[in-house]
């Protein structure tokens, strides 16, 4: 019973990793808007890369989800 509770707590704790991804997305889109504001002509070039960057940053958060699944499988 305690181990089941501990695995639930561990699954919850793995969600802390999402904070890092949130910071990353904030930096990514903040810098992109800054860059477009400075150089509006470069918008099409810059926005080409943010979606790739966003996918990379989001994937980091999802590794936390994978760890939660691993704990769920073992707990």
């Amino acid at each position: 019973m305690e181990s089941a509770a501990a695995s639930l707590i561990g699954m919850g704790l793995s969600a802390i990793g999402f904070a890092g991804s949130g910071i990353g997305l904030g930096i990514l889109f903040g810098k992109t808007i800054e860059a477009i504001a400075r150089q509006p002509g470069a918008e099409s070039q810059v926005s080409k890369y943010i979606w790739i960057g966003a996918a990379f940053v989001e994937a980091i958060a999802l590794y936390g989800l994978v760890i939660a699944f691993i704990i769920m499988g073992n707990g």
Partner: protein
């Protein structure tokens, strides 16, 4: 006292069973075998994952067949869509690998459309996403990893080992840098497969939770999660496209590393 509690539990259980379905957002990812098969001790059963992978391949094949059923110089809508996808990947390959990449273009195009259609068939309600299984994405990633490594050794011979020695680093640091380079090289298939698998699983879990709320709430509350589920379906298609693109672009980067070595 205990009987009272037990009967209360029982009535609560029956009430829950009749009133609200059980929340199970991972139900979507269960693999059922339709036909049990095994060959040489390997399990090659026809499961729902296999069937939906066939559907994805059939959709990709049918889409291109339909788009080019009557090719014209001025393309119609379907032909334009197919040509855009084709040219998009060709431009990507030329950008990332260069002229030598022409040889790998058919494989990369096939990989892109396979991953894309596997991602997109999962958006159909009550379907299955083949790429939401780590074994599927892991197999793709490991094949890519071994192909790139073999390609590097075939192109450069044992010189390919100098790929793991970074340039312009003092020799005292090499002792530290070479293991790091080696580990980062070996982590490539892991990150490649887990990225795709985790994105697909997470997106469909969110959809599962939203649909659960839709069916469990009353009519005055249900339209909120139902509206969100429409938004998330569109978002999921977008994520499927982006992840297929990322998978392809990273494959191009790895092939480029094997051919040009930095």
């Amino acid at each position: 006292m205990t009987t009272l509690i037990a009967s209360a539990h029982a009535s609560a259980a029956t009430h829950a069973a009749t009133a609200a379905p059980k929340m199970d957002p991972l139900h979507h990812f269960e693999v059922h075998n339709y036909v049990d098969l095994s060959m040489f001790g390997l399990d090659i059963s026809i499961s729902n994952s296999v069937v939906w992978m066939w559907v994805a391949v059939a959709c990709a094949f049918g889409f291109f067949k339909y788009a080019f059923r009557d090719p014209k110089v001025v393309p119609g809508r379907a032909q334009l869509l197919a040509e855009t996808g084709f040219l998009f990947i060709r431009q990507l390959v030329e950008e990332m690998i260069g002229k030598e990449g022409r040889k790998y273009f058919p494989a990369i195009l096939t990989l892109f459309f396979f991953v894309l259609f596997c991602n997109l068939v999962g958006v159909i309600p009550s379907s299955y996403t083949p790429t939401s299984q780590l074994i599927v994405t892991g197999t793709l990633a490991i094949v890519i990893f071994f192909l790139c490594t073999l390609l590097g050794f075939a192109k450069h011979g044992l010189n390919f080992l100098s790929f793991f020695v970074p340039h312009g680093v003092p020799s005292a640091l090499l002792l530290l840098m070479i293991p790091i380079e080696l580990i980062s090289y070996l982590a490539r298939p892991v990150s490649l497969s887990v990225r795709l698998f985790a994105n697909m699983t997470a997106g469909h879990t969110v959809l599962g939770v939203l649909f659960f709320f839709t069916v469990s709430l009353d009519w005055y509350g249900a339209w909120v999660p139902f509206g969100f589920s429409v938004v998330f379906n569109a978002f999921e298609m977008f994520i499927g496209l982006i992840q297929a693109y990322i998978f392809t672009i990273l494959t191009c980067v790895y092939i480029n590393d094997s051919i040009h070595m930095h």
